[in-house]
Amino acid sequence: MTDQRLRELFGELAETLPEGSSSAGELWHFHALAVFSELALTPSAHDGMLYGFEPAAPFPAGPA
């Protein structure tokens, strides 16, 4: 079995296979792009923080 013939067989077989998604929608794509959006929102992303927001200030105490 020559290497070249194997390459040809794989190529011929691959041409019969789909190269696009059959699943409904492309939700993964939104997930993937959301990753970049999250990173863009995160000045400290590379320091391990998920979001760069300051912690919310506690509610002010109510009237005594």
Partner: protein, 161 residues
């Protein structure tokens, strides 16, 4: 180019080929789509670290995930392309089916070695790096896979002299 744009360009250029490689390794279109999507999301998360060689990061992830899922499910199901199920009975088409069915009889690791070497056309060293094994293991797995193909499909031997 921003990271998200570079990622998009990578996906547009490589996804079709990676999907076909994943189908060849897994033998299951839906499983292949699942693992490729998960691999691309993982790639997005690690883009800043692996953007210099994203395709091999995805190949490694794909193989690992297919092998992991196959260990849980054991079986291999090759889906015959719809256009060939009823009408095309030419010798060439028969040979493709024989080849596909013979591939289905191989363990996942051997299929992965053959796909990476002969469909992706990668050198032994690169295949070894992707599969996280030694080059010697890639060579021995290739030898074992070809021997197995000849055993389960003598028809291939006649054509591939």
């Amino acid at each position: 180019m921003r990271d998200s744009e570079a990622f998009e360009a990578f996906v547009a250029a490589w996804r079709p080929r990676l999907l076909r490689a994943a189908i060849l390794i897994s033998g299951d279109r839906h499983l292949a789509e699942d693992v490729l999507q998960e691999a691309l999301i993982k790639l997005a998360r690690r883009w800043s670290k692996v953007h210099t060689d994203p395709v091999n990061y995805v190949r490694t992830t794909l193989y690992r995930d297919v092998a992991s899922r196959r260990r849980r499910r054991r079986e291999f199901v090759y889906e015959e392309p719809p256009e060939q199920q009823d009408q095309d009975t030419s010798g060439e088409s028969d040979l493709k089916l024989v080849f596909a069915r013979a591939l289905a009889r191989l363990p996942v690791k051997q299929r992965a070695v053959l796909v990476l070497r002969f469909y992706e056309d990668l050198p032994v060293g690169e295949v070894a790096a992707i599969l996280r094994v030694s080059p010697g293991t890639v060579k021995s797995q290739t030898h074992a896979a070809l021997k197995r193909l000849r055993e389960v499909a003598p028809e291939l031997e006649e054509v591939l002299i």
